[in-house]
Amino acid sequence: SQQGEEDPQALSIQEGENATMNCSYKTSINNLQWYRQNSGRGLVHLILIRSNEREKHSGRLRVTLDTSKKSSSLLITASRAADTASYFCATDARGGGFKTIFGAGTRLFVKA
């Protein structure tokens, strides 16, 4: 079963716009990660946020985590055509032996 559920399932924006993707999960977690997958580079780790953190930045990426709502968001600022990919959240459930569960992903298309 998938723990993380991304929203929206698909997103199409113009180059230069910001893209926001959301992830909701069901059980308590140790950390939450975001990954990107495209045909060129496969599945690549973007950022990890621990359960005691609320916000994290990495370049044009901003991730927030709200453990009370069991949700996270990924913001990509000033998007580029090269950001076109599927984005997945993955959670490490507490007490789950660090088993990582991926959501179904958000498909982002950035138009040049």
Binding site: Q2, G4, R50, K99, T100
Partner: protein, 115 residues
């Protein structure tokens, strides 16, 4: 630093045949994962090894799937016999196991088509 290596990259077989995939993780990574990714879905964990011991295989269909990690390095995943629904990309990943964070590094995957 060399990444996670997988072979073959593509495989086409007929149902009821057998197939094996190979993975070589990043040097020094204690944890190795096999995922199944069906088109349009996120990766699903099949099995996780810590060194050469199994940490989790709860979603591995053990009647047809098997995996081993000899000497705590390379790993093989086998399907015998294959079914049509096994058509998917099989991803191998590895990570350094720390206490609370496990960034995973993924290989390119093996795309399996079962006819």
């Amino acid at each position: 630093e060399a990444g996670v290596a997988q072979s073959p990259r593509y495989k086409i077989i007929e149902k009821r045949q057998s197939v094996a995939f190979w993975c070589n993780p990043i040097s020094g990574h204690a944890t190795l994962y096999w995922y199944q990714q069906i088109l349009g879905q996120g990766p699903k964990l099949l099995i996780q090894f810590q060194n050469n011991g199994v940490v989790d295989d709860s979603q591995l269909p053990k009647d047809r799937f098997s995996a081993e990690r000899l000497k705590g390095v390379d790993s093989t995943l086998k399907i015998q016999p294959a079914k049509l629904e096994d058509s998917a990309v099989y991803l191998c990943a590895s990570s350094l196991r720390t206490s609370d964070a496990n960034e995973q590094f993924f290989g390119p995957g093996t795309r399996l088509t079962v006819l």
